[in-house]
Each structure stands twice: as C-alpha cells, then as structure tokens.
Symmetry: C2
Subunit: 194 residues, 2 copies
DNA sequence: TGCCACGACTTGACACTATCAAGTTTTGCG
DNA sequence: CGCAAAACTTGATAGTGTCAAGTCGTGGCA
C-alpha cells in the first residue's frame, strides 16, 4: 500500500499509456494527481522521457518471466503456438508497458544499461524457447532466423490487435484466441520442418 | 515546386515523424520553418492530431499501390516472400507514414471516413494477394486466417526493424534482405500447405 | 466597375507543458 | 543532538495547442 512517489508516478504513467498512448503524457498532470508539486517527479526521473525507460524495464522483466515460465496444463503443447499466445496475452494484459517497450524513439536504451540488459535478456529467453522448438540439430543461424520469424509473427499479431485495425475485427475474446491459435499453428507447421 | 502550405506542412510532419517519431511533433515549429504564422497550419487541419489522419491517408494509398503492383522480374516468384519484402521495403522507405498508419491512438479514423476507406482498401489489397497465394479452393475463413498470418509476420518484421531491437542487429541492407527472405520463406512453407 | 463574401493567413491572448534554478522540509545516521 | 543528503516545493522561463478576433487578397456577381 505505502507506495513511494516513484512507484506512484510509474504506475500512473503506465495506466495513461494503456488508455491514451504515450503521446500526451504529462508529468505535471501525474504530479497533480498524486498530490505533489509539479517538480517532484523530476527528482526521480531527471527528464520526462526517462520514465519510458523505466516502464520498458518493468515490461521487459515481466515479459521475460512470462515467456520463460514452464508450460501449464491448460496451454497448447506446441511451443510455437504457446509462445504466440503468451506474447499476445502479455501485450493485452500489459498494454501500457508493451506500447513503450519496442519503441526506440521513446526509450533511449543507450541511456539506461539496465533497461538494455533487460531487453537483451528478454530476447535471449525467446531465443532459448525457439531453440527448444527447432531442436539441437539446427545451426545457430537457422535458430536465429526461426526466432526472428516467431518473434515477428507474434509481435505483428500483438501490435495489430492492440493499436491497429485488427482490434475491431476481432472484438470477442473467444474470436481472438481462436485466431491467434490458428495463425500460430500455420506458422508452426512452416517452422518445424526446418 | 509551388507547394501549397498544406502540402508543405504535411511533408514537414512526415519528415519529422520519420526522424524523431510522432511524439514531439510541433505545429508551431513547422509553421516557423515554413515561414508562416503559428496559426496558419490550423486553418488547414483544425487541430494538431488531424494531421496524423492526413499522413495515414497518404500512407495507405501508397501502401495499397505498392502491395498491389504486378510482380517485377527482379522480385521473388513466391507471393508470400514478395509481399513480405515489399511490406518491409515500404516501411523503411516511408518510415514517417508507416509509423502513423497503424497507430489507432494517433489517427482517429472515425473522424476521417476517407482515411478509414483507404485503410480498408489497403487491407482488401492484402487479402486479394493472399487469396491468390492460397488458391481458389480455400474457404473465406481460411483465407482470412492466412492473410492475418502473413500480415502479422510482415508487420512484426517491419516494426521490429524500424522501431525495435532488430534495427541494430541487422544494420547492413544485404543482411536485412537475406533475413526477410529467409523468414518469409519459412512462413510461406507453412501457409501454402493449407 | 464596384462590392462583397469567403478563403488564407496574422495577431494576440490563455492555459498548459517541460525544465532550469533556487529554496525548504524531511529523514536517515553517526 | 546535529548534520548532510535525499525528497520535495516555489518561482520563473520558454515553448506548446488552441480560442477569438482581426487583416488581406481574390474570384464572382450585380
């Protein structure tokens, strides 16, 4: 409960981004909502855009945890399908984080080695999952290509659902799940036969 | 040459978005650069965010034209690969447009039926190309699933290259082309065997 | 020709924003 | 206790979107 101002600011920003996108985010408004002076947040973040690094950091940590977790019973047995479903589920459940994480124009990763490392870790988790999928026989280049394919597919699906035109086309959750599963299944067929 | 103020403003905005992302785009700055008063652009666009609709409109038109064009000799004969390559090429060559087109939080399509229509047309073009790919035998649902898969793959690849972590990993153009082709080829294998 | 309505643009104002530069309060700790 | 550093406030400045009025030029019509 006893949330520090720093935490309050981050979670308020995440909520704003989830609801309205990152563009109009106002430090002063957040400060006012938190009942502190307009300058208080700057003590924790230096400048406005630094908060995006912080959001991305949180996001990448949770993302890696989600993607790397052992398979549950209620999940698809096919790894590729499972990864896609988790990817999309993460994006929807953490819209505020997701919208920031992959935006190089928002998070200046070079300014925050910690966020950079979290991003690298997340990619490594993905790579590990994919190499499990294709088996040990494949070359490192082959794994890289397949990881990129898997990643692109899941990422495209997630962004098109969250920000793009797919949002309206598949409003119902059941529709979305079925679509994601179908799409991932097709891709899995293509990838497995390396 | 005799560019109207309206055209000047749009192209300046597109350039800004390509270089810096959409966030800090300033109407006043654009007006100053064009040598007009700070209020002049408002005469053409009403409010700031309306310009994103205009950028998206331009983008969707060019996008549909690019994706729907007949195959050239120097392109891959596999439709799926060709579409992916064109998609990524469009995104890179029209970064300023692409960064706006699929952002529902930026373009309020409901305010601009014309842009909405252009977006629908673009999707229809994609759908037509995919149905050519899977053949006449497939059901409409199957085509839809495959179109979504194709679209997601290409879109994910493009956004990860433009805004995300793939940008640094594949700096050289030759690397990028090879990667896009490999990835698309794997996906094509999966999709063709409907 | 005169005039006048309308589009294109300007000027001025207002509330809002990020951010610099100081202050003041709070808090942890020797 | 005392004090230093962290946490926060107050004030000012420059830049922003946008409302509300102007001004200016041009085409069309009596």
């Amino acid at each position: 409960m006893a949330q520090s101002l720093r935490e309050k600011v981050i979670s308020a920003a995440v909520k704003y981004v989830a609801d309205n996108g990152p563009d109009g985010l106002s430090f002063r408004q957040i400060a006012a909502d938190a009942g502190v002076s307009h300058q208080a947040p700057y003590h924790h973040f230096g400048h406005r855009s630094a908060i995006f690094n912080e959001i991305a950091l949180e996001g990448f940590k949770k993302f890696a945890a989600d993607m790397g977790a052992p398979a549950r019973d209620d999940e698809d047995s096919e790894i590729c399908v499972r990864l896609c479903e988790r990817y999309v589920a993460f994006a929807i459940a953490n819209k505020g984080h997701f919208r920031v994480m992959f935006r190089a124009d928002l998070c200046h990763l070079h300014e925050s080695p910690e966020t950079q490392k979290a991003a690298d870790d997340a990619f490594a988790t993905l790579l590990a999952a994919v190499s499990e999928m294709v088996g040990d026989s494949a070359s490192i280049d082959e794994i890289r290509v397949q990881a990129t394919a898997m990643w692109s597919l899941a990422h495209g699906l997630a962004t098109l659902i969250i920000d793009g035109p797919l949002e309206k086309k598949i409003g119902r959750v059941s529709d979305r799940r079925a679509l994601v599963r179908s799409v991932a299944q097709r891709a899995a067929d293509g990838l497995r036969r390396a």
